[in-house]
């Protein structure tokens, strides 16, 4: 009886493993606010499914809930990878509703937006610990990458042993410095791109297939 049970368990483990290999990988798009995460998520989703993930904005914390686009099939060099893209709110350690007042927002709207933003960041941190199989970390290449949030998040991702692809976004803007990002995280490969203009997306897709396939 015990032998049969063991055999059944072994077969079950093997079949589970086979099916798990076919399941889409959940890839979280993480990074600080206004790095262009939603622009990238929309670019990937539009290129491979025709649909967008969510609205983009220059106002910080436009994305206040993790949004998922499922079953995005990316084909590269004969290799196909199916991913669920999870676009997450920009991670921060502080949210002050008064900052939204500068964007012509009424106090009630600003308070609501900040409350939603805090809930979204908490949710994103929880996802990172529990629910993602890999991370695309997006940075604005026109800003200083040596921030505490970036250092902590990269440390958290590394401690989870998650495959991570670092993207230096906004290369279309003057002041873009990709090397600065490469210097900040030398243990990772840094890929330059402009998600807005679609520049260098070919290399991004090749790397996505390589890292998460």
């Amino acid at each position: 009886m015990g032998l049969l049970t063991n055999l059944k368990d072994s077969i079950s483990r093997v079949t589970d493993g086979l099916f798990a290999a076919d399941e889409p990988k959940r890839i979280g798009i993480y990074g600080p606010p206004n790095a262009g995460k939603t622009t990238l998520a929309n670019r990937i989703a539009r290129d491979w499914t025709g649909d967008a993930v969510g609205p983009e904005s220059h106002i910080p914390h436009e994305t206040r809930r993790a949004r998922r686009k499922e079953n995005v099939e990316i084909e590269r060099n004969g290799r196909k990878v199916t991913i669920d893209i999870v676009d997450t709110p920009g991670v921060t350690t502080k949210v002050d509703y008064k900052e939204f007042l500068d964007h012509d927002m009424e106090k009630d709207d600003a308070v609501r937006r900040s409350r939603e933003a805090t809930e979204g960041v908490a949710e994103a941190m929880h996802w990172l610990r529990e629910d993602v199989d890999g991370v695309i970390y997006v940075l604005d290449s026109t800003t200083d990458p040596f921030t505490q949030v970036n250092t902590m998040l990269i440390g958290i991702i590394e401690s989870q042993d998650l495959p991570a692809l670092i993207l230096a976004n906004k290369t279309d803007l003057p002041g873009s410095d990709v090397q600065q990002i490469a210097n900040a995280f030398p243990q990772h490969e840094t890929i330059p791109l402009s998600a807005l203009e679609g520049d260098n997306m070919d290399e991004v897709y090749t790397k996505i297939a390589e890292y998460f396939g």
Partner: protein, 137 residues
């Protein structure tokens, strides 16, 4: 003149006066005996009282992640806007041996400064120096 009053945790004195900023320097030994959630509570309770908390040995990546998560749940308009946190940048994984990683011995020994976001501002940070401006409430 009244002396310092005991803090909620019973052994660190507190000063209710408004003419200074309190700094709590917490040793690694003190933190070693606490669970992850107890560490986060100790930090956030201090910071929410307007104190600057300095950790001799910092937090693990998992604890940092939970600190951000709990901080977010406690932010409220006109009361608490979150935390400012600074540590020395350090390529931890590069310095860790395979055996350390295998045994779960994470190299987290890095001085960490945490304060209320509306009272602490980082002026300069590099591998050897953290310079911050601290203001009163």
């Amino acid at each position: 003149m009244p002396g310092p009053t005991p803090n909620v945790d019973g052994d660190a004195p507190s000063d209710d006066s408004d003419d200074g900023v309190r700094i709590d320097m917490i040793s690694g030994a003190r933190m070693d005996g606490l669970t992850g959630m107890e560490k986060i509570r100790l930090i956030l309770d201090g910071v929410r009282d307007g104190n600057i908390v300095i950790l001799e040995e910092g937090l693990s990546p998992d604890e940092e992640s939970k600190l951000i998560e709990v901080t977010m749940t406690e932010i409220s308009p006109d009361d608490f806007t979150g935390i400012e946190i600074e540590t020395y940048p350090k390529a931890e994984t590069a310095n860790q041996s395979f055996l350390d990683k295998l045994m779960g011995r994470e190299s987290t020994q890095k001085l960490t400064v945490i304060g209320p976001a509306n009272q602490i501002e980082t002026l300069h940070k590099d591998e050897n120096l953290i310079s911050t401006l601290v203001s009163r409430k």
